[in-house]
């Protein structure tokens, strides 16, 4: 399956979804006015990937910031990953002292039933 790679823009994150390595990376800002439209392609890829996922999928979420519309889309992505039969690990990164992103990670951790690490980092 082809890797999905979206370069980051001022309003949307870098997205790199690699079916061979099982590494799914989200990095940057997610503030599109049309969040549903932006995440639709990502969800389509994940639905397709779900048919034959890597033995181990590691999701790195390195958001600097996201709007509330994106927060719902991000949850939808996590819920889809939660339904996989294979192993999925979530790594939620937040910048040093960014309590809001830390709390966002904790909110998702409380909802999603997957191995979930919340990691403070100097740079996203």
């Amino acid at each position: 399956m082809k890797t999905l790679q979206l370069e980051n823009t001022p309003k949307t994150p870098l997205v790199k979804l690699d079916s061979t390595t099982g590494k799914l990376i989200f990095q940057g800002r997610s503030i599109p006015e049309d969040a549903i439209g932006f995440y639709e392609g990502i969800m389509d890829w994940i639905v397709e990937y779900a048919k034959s996922p890597a033995t181990k999928t590691v999701v790195e979420m390195r958001f600097e910031y996201f709007n509330t519309a994106s927060s719902k889309c991000i949850l939808d992505v996590l819920k889809k990953l939660e339904s996989f039969q294979s192993d999925v690990f979530i790594e939620w990164y937040f910048e040093e002292d960014d309590e809001d992103m830390q709390e966002a990670g904790e909110d998702y951790h409380a909802i999603i039933n997957l191995p979930f690490k919340i990691i403070e980092t100097e740079e996203l």
Partner: protein
């Protein structure tokens, strides 16, 4: 509405915008907000909160406002106020007022629970919004949302302000 320089300064002494909102203008305003506050002697946390609130307020206006809007940022001694002003259909006033009053009465824990519940169980509106914006503003502000309604030229004008404490 005609604004005098003094009225603008009283409303928003940092950044003031009045007009019809669109995506390009939102980008410009957010750039201005980001640039201005990156040069202020305030914590990165406060900068991010101000930016966060600006995104939510401006995008809310984009989705819901049908006429000219006002967006402003005002600095006070211990806080920044982010304000919006727009006309709303008269039939929406009561529901909006009740919703804001209810949010303003919730504790921090109740807001957190409400946010998680709406995040998990809520659905997107036909405008593509998640219904989380006001809850998020109230929750992260740690202060009550200020608002007022008044009549102008036969229409209902809604004005709202959300504060970010200086840290």
């Amino acid at each position: 509405m005609e604004w005098t320089a003094s009225e603008i300064d009283d409303f928003a002494n940092v950044l003031f915008f009045e007009g019809e909102i669109n995506e390009q203008l939102i980008d410009d305003l957010l750039n201005q907000v980001e640039l201005y506050f990156s040069e202020e002697a305030i914590s990165k946390k406060t900068q991010k909160r101000i930016y966060h609130f600006s995104v939510e307020l401006l995008q809310n206006l984009l989705h819901h406002a049908t006429e000219s809007v006002v967006f402003g940022v005002h600095e006070e001694q211990n806080m920044f106020l982010l304000k919006i002003r727009n006309t709303i259909p008269a039939v929406q006033q009561l529901q909006l007022e009740e919703y804001l009053d209810a949010l303003n009465e919730l504790t921090e824990d109740q807001l957190k629970m409400l946010y998680k519940e709406r995040l998990e169980k809520g659905s997107f509106s036909d405008k593509g919004t998640a219904g989380l914006g006001m809850i998020e503003l109230r929750r992260k502000s740690q202060n009550k949302i200020g608002y007022t309604f008044y009549e102008f030229n036969g229409k209902v004008v809604f004005e709202m302000s959300v504060s970010v404490n200086k840290q």
